[in-house]
């Protein structure tokens, strides 16, 4: 069985050479090609696997198109006669194309065509085959991808075509990846000790967890003592460098968690920290922000699908306005009757949070709503070192700092900020100076709520958007605000990031649950040391 597959692979390689050597395919290939394509519509996976091999063996350059369509789920067959077709989305219309002629098949409607199903095994096979087929592609990106796929497949039959590709490669980056793939194959499958040692050396240069694993495997299983030893040494050196990267990764995760905590807490730092309202409905404001995002995306999806990438840019101010308006209503309707009775606000806002949850549940249903990531927030900066910086996390870190910065500007540099501080410090004095403290209260509460809503936009990108969203964050938010010191924005910032980072560095050692327990116990002990939080104001006693 193995030899048969190998033989097939050789055929592929051979045919690629032929293809390259003789330019474009000849008509003689056409029938063979369309037969092979037609065979893909087999009843079972074993036959499909054979058909894939056969199709790639034709060496036809259209094979890559068909096979990648199969991989991406855009290869269909016509129900009436089983004709295999490619499908292309063009606006809202699906166009079906005959792969042999690349002409549109006019008489097929979308619903009549059925997708050709594949499973994981076929997917793996397809990727390997496509890797070999595209190693010599004109597109450098494709070649790079192919080199990575070949490295992952680590299949000795690909060595010749790989070597050929290396010889032709001009792009140093792509070449490096090809060399890596080559070294991996040699190290694992070659019989030549010298070549293997050299390969191990080459691999030792990379800082990549996959390579570390490969070296580790060789170090454990190789019968050649020299290779074994070098592989072990090289693995140690790779691991050493990886440790530094993993530290960076941990740090990033910690900062990222910190930014989430900061976002969740910063609105509370206003409503609770500045105004003294024990705002249990804060989490629901975050939730309202997330649902606003959902609504915005829903409208955009149905009416302006092209503008989807802008959805968050619209959702941020929209969420601010919606939750800010809710904030004003809540302040004018409930909170304003409760100043001077801070503990009572706990009761009223708890009731409010129950009602808001139920309201959302009644309006939108209890299930998760789908909020999509715009393209600029999908994916990640992936380095081969195993350090992955996802774009959504990076943007959330940036966003959280921007929100805090903006808030600091508003409170420090604007007239409203001045009035806000005046009212919270001495209401009677502020009143006598002509500040309408009622409106300042309402706007302050609206500001805190609006910021919570903006946080909701960001959190909708990483969490489930459901009526329970707010409950997930409320406790952590209070922890952060209190840990940092009530009424101190700087404290909230430092508190959020230090809790995030400590949590992430504890986790690998203690596990997720114990890590969190340690953080909580840490907060309890820390408060013993500094009973007024991280950044408490010191001063003489006024009433003693």
């Amino acid at each position: 069985m193995l030899s048969k597959t190998l033989a097939m692979r050789w055929l592929v390689v051979l045919s690629v050479f032929i293809g390259l050597g003789f330019g474009s395919s000849t008509p003689a290939h056409a029938d063979e090609f369309s037969d092979a394509v037609q065979a893909l519509n087999a009843d079972n996976n074993t036959d499909k696997a054979a058909a894939i091999e056969a199709l790639s063996a034709t060496g036809d350059e259209r094979a890559a198109t068909v096979l990648s369509a199969l991989l991406n789920g855009t290869l269909f067959y016509r129900q009436s006669d089983g004709l295999v077709v490619l499908s292309k989305e063009s606006g809202n219309v699906t166009i079906l194309i005959d792969p042999s002629t690349m002409n549109e098949v006019a008489d097929v409607s979308g619903s009549e065509a059925k997708k050709i199903r594949i499973n994981n095994k076929l997917r793996g096979q397809l990727k390997g085959v496509l890797g070999a087929l595209t190693l010599l592609s004109k597109d450098a990106d494709k070649r790079q991808n192919a080199a990575d796929e070949v490295f992952k497949a680590n299949d000795p039959s690909m060595l010749p075509v790989l070597q050929k590709a290396i010889a032709r490669e001009s792009d140093p980056d792509v070449k490096g990846r090809m060399l890596r793939a080559q070294a991996a194959i040699i190290l694992e499958y070659s019989e030549d000790t010298a070549a293997r040692l050299k390969a191990a050396q080459t691999l030792g240069e990379f800082t990549d967890p996959d390579i570390s694993a490969l070296l580790g495997k060789i170090a454990n299983t190789s019968t050649d003592p020299e290779v074994k030893k070098l592989a072990k040494d090289m693995q140690d050196s790779v691991e050493g460098r990886l440790a530094a990267w993993s530290f960076l990764g941990n740090l990033f995760q910690g900062v990222s968690l910190g930014s989430v905590l900061l976002l969740a807490a910063v609105g509370l730092a206003i409503t609770f920290g500045v105004m003294g309202v024990i705002n249990m409905a804060h989490g629901e404001m975050v939730m309202l922000g997330a649902y606003t995002t959902f609504m915005v995306q829903d409208v955009i999806r149905t009416h302006f699908p092209a503008a989807f990438d802008w959805s968050l840019a619209i959702a941020v101010p929209a969420a601010f306005l919606v939750t800010g308006a809710v904030g004003i209503l809540v302040e004018r309707g409930i909170i304003r009757w409760l100043y001077g009775r801070p503990l009572e606000t706990l009761l009223a806002t708890w009731g409010l949070s129950l009602m808001l949850q139920q309201l959302i549940r009644t309006l939108f249903g209890p299930t998760n709503q789908e909020v999509g990531n715009p393209s600029w927030m999908s994916g990640a900066i992936e380095t081969s070192t195993g350090l992955v910086l996802t774009y959504n996390r990076i943007w959330i870190i940036v966003f959280s700092l921007a929100v805090l910065g903006m808030l600091a500007l508003v409170t420090r540099k604007t007239m409203f900020g001045l009035q806000m501080r005046a009212v919270t410090q001495n209401r009677a004095m502020a009143n006598s100076m002509g500040i309408r403290s009622g409106w300042v209260d309402a706007l302050t509460f609206a500001l805190g709520s609006g910021i919570a809503g903006m946080a909701g936009v960001a959190l909708s990108q990483i969490d489930n958007v459901s009526p329970n969203l707010g409950q997930t964050y409320i406790i952590d938010s209070f922890m952060v605000v209190v840990f940092g010191g009530v009424g101190n924005l700087w404290g909230t910032l430092v508190g959020a990031f230090s809790l995030g980072i400590v949590n992430k560095f504890l986790e690998p050692y203690a596990g997720a649950v114990l890590g969190k327990i340690f953080v909580l116990v840490g907060i309890i002990l820390f408060i013993q040391k500094r009973p007024r939080g991280l950044f408490a104001l010191k001063g003489r006693s006024v009433e003693g």
Binding site: N120, K121, R361, T367, N368, N468, V513
Partner: protein, 427 residues
């Protein structure tokens, strides 16, 4: 003194209202209790099942009801609060006099209901896949037992089609269902020649959101040169960040397939599934199954819920089967009396929505087919594997030494949910 008396009287009046409310109302309808959380953390999953029951009742009433009477739903909200489940069960049976209850999702809610339903001799239909290790005289389990979900899924992973996995990672949320399931699976894997060195087991808390470390560990575990697969019993909300992390770290389904037992159409509805294509789930039902019964069920559901985007899932089918069986058993027994209906339940058959027939066994578990699906980019599953026939649900796993010796059979001569020998020796 007069006012004191008034207050005493007031207190008495409240007590009296509690009392009178319990007085039985005239039984001109057949009452069906619906015990699913409509608020709190579990509302996200359970509300759908409440609506399913209401839909089934609606359908039944359109057909003229049952035994010439209309069905009446009594919906209560146990609010994801486990002791409240027990209280509400008692309320449904003692105060509302319901004839049957459809309800519960989590194991802990069922465990909470169990003593009450047994004491009052009620009847509960439990529609969710669970860890097994239970057979109550008063509960019918219409979801999958481990041998109807977990074991076939592992069989698939070990098969040629599934990629012939040689190393298995068992990831789960730290509660009883994953713990038990994994215990069973470990023992099963041993029997298949996969030893402890090739099994990794890891537990995380509910709602765990940072999977970097664990996914990296899986990756490392997988790079030992043997084909590796992940069996996930990760619960609900934690799945989204888990799959995202898998994608981020470049683990594709064809490298390390993940088969999940708690991820269905409803869970995927709030998620962009493009990065998840190819990962697997094992259930007794998928919405994508092409069968006339399924098509009509989906249509009825969408009309009932007035939302064209709503999906159907496995626990809904389990509710459907349970409800159908109950109505058939009531008709056969000619009464809603719990004991009579229970006897009529055994051997009751209902056509599955996916084809084939579900049969209620005397251990109160169903025989059902098992399907394995791959996640598609549209949030649906593509069925890649299916058992030949129906699998009989086991109350007690054959792969746990303590429970292998136990038998559940509620008919003569056993009449027992956890016995080593029959209660009545068969002469």
């Amino acid at each position: 003194m007069k006012k004191t008396m008034k207050i005493l009287a007031g207190a008495g009046a409240i007590a009296a209202s509690v009392l009178t409310a319990t007085a039985a109302q005239a039984a001109d309808t057949i009452k069906v209790g619906v015990l699913h959380s409509l608020s709190g953390t579990m509302a996200i999953s359970e509300t759908t099942l409440k609506d399913t029951v209401l839909m089934m009742i609606d359908e039944q009433n359109k057909k003229g009801g049952l035994l010439g009477k209309k069905l009446e739903a009594v919906v209560v909200d146990p609010a994801s609060n486990w002791p409240l489940f027990a209280e509400k069960t008692r309320e449904l049976i003692e105060k509302n006099n319901v004839d049957v209850i459809f309800g519960c999702w989590t194991s802990v809610s069922r465990k909470s209901v169990l003593p009450v339903i047994e004491e009052l001799n009620g009847m509960l239909f439990y529609p969710v896949q669970y860890e097994g290790e239970e057979s109550s005289r008063n509960v019918f389990y219409t979801g999958a037992a481990p041998n109807q979900q977990a074991i076939p899924a592992v069989d698939y992973l070990l098969s040629k089609d599934g990629g012939e996995a040689k190393r298995i990672v068992l990831l789960g949320t730290d509660y009883v269902y994953p713990r038990t399931t994994n215990k069973i699976l470990r023992s099963y894997l041993h029997s298949k020649g996969i030893m402890d060195a090739d099994i990794m087991e890891n537990y995380t808390p509910f709602g765990h959101s940072d999977w970097q470390t664990i996914v990296a560990d899986v990756k490392k575990f997988a790079s030992a040169g043997k084909k590796t697969a992940v069996v996930s019993t990760i619960n609900g909300d934690a799945n989204v960040p888990f799959y995202k992390e898998l994608g981020n770290q470049g683990i594709k389904a064809e490298d390390i397939p993940v088969v999940a037992f708690s991820v269905g159409e409803e869970e995927l509805a709030g998620l962009d599934t493009k990065p998840l294509v190819g990962h697997l789930a094992a259930w007794n039902y998928f919405m994508s199954v092409d069968a006339p019964a399924n098509a009509s069920f989906i249509k009825t559901w969408k009309t009932f819920i007035k939302d064209d985007k709503r999906v159907t899932n496995d626990p809904m089918e389990a509710t459907y089967i349970g409800f159908k069986m109950w109505t058939q058993a009531v008709e056969q027994a000619g009464s809603t009396d719990v004991d009579a209906v229970r006897q009529a339940m055994y051997g009751q058959t209902v056509k599955n929505l996916t084809g084939g027939t579900a049969v209620m066994n005397t251990n109160h578990h169903l025989s059902k087919p098992v399907l394995i699906g791959e996640i598609q980019d549209d949030g649906q599953f593509d069925i890649v594997w299916k058992t030949d026939g129906e699998v009989v649900g086991d109350a007690w796993s054959d792969f746990l030494p303590e429970s292998a010796k136990l038998t559940a059979d509620w008919t003569f001569p056993w009449v027992c949910g956890n016995c080593e020998k029959p209660l009545y020796a068969a002469q």
